[in-house]
Symmetry: C2
Subunit: 99 residues, 2 copies
Amino acid sequence: MMKKIKLMSFEEWEKKKLKNPEFRKYARQADDDPFVATALQLIRARKKKNLTQSQLAKLAKTSQEAISRMESLDYRGYSLSVLEKVADALGKKVLITLT
Amino acid sequence: MMKKIKLMSFEEWEKKKLKNPEFRKYARQADDDPFVATALQLIRARKKKNLTQSQLAKLAKTSQEAISRMESLDYRGYSLSVLEKVADALGKKVLITLT
DNA sequence: ATATTATATATCAAAATTGATATAATGTCA
DNA sequence: TGACATTATATCAATTTTGATATATAATAT
């Protein structure tokens, strides 16, 4: 991890992903589904900081796998405390609203 | 559960609770701590609908204990999926923002 | 085009949450 | 005020999440 790679930007990544019908199906739910919405926010924030999942995992004191799961649009099992840890490592604060 | 009792309103409840230094200590963190903020929002929403924890638990297909834990200002373990279930039972949508 | 690195996910053990039951302390009602 | 109901939480089993390891596929670097 001496060499810093340049990750694809969120926008490029999203554009690429939207070519996949499966991804499109999920992405359409972002407004209604806190998991999908959160996953996309996490991916955006991570790519913005140009961190790999492994690097973020290290900063958040969790595992690369946990990060991957949380970024997956169809994973719905993680805890709020893991989310808070990861968000913190991304320099973000978690704001939860019941609307 | 034939007879509907009248729960103390959130405002009254909060006023009463704020007399306790321990509660005050936690309540002060609501702006910085998603758990505290969420707990208070859950309590407010539940009392607004005049539901007991048991009634809400039933609607959310979870347990009274789970509700109590989530409403506790010092509990930090629950999953986002349980939160979503409970919010849904309260007629609320969970909105998560990383700010 | 090839070498290297990142990501998604399978397997499974370890850790944590959830639920059932019970109950003391607190709240509501008659 | 006493009877009844609600809430917070202890104990512990059942269930789920997290982490370690591994690896096929995809992305990035050269």
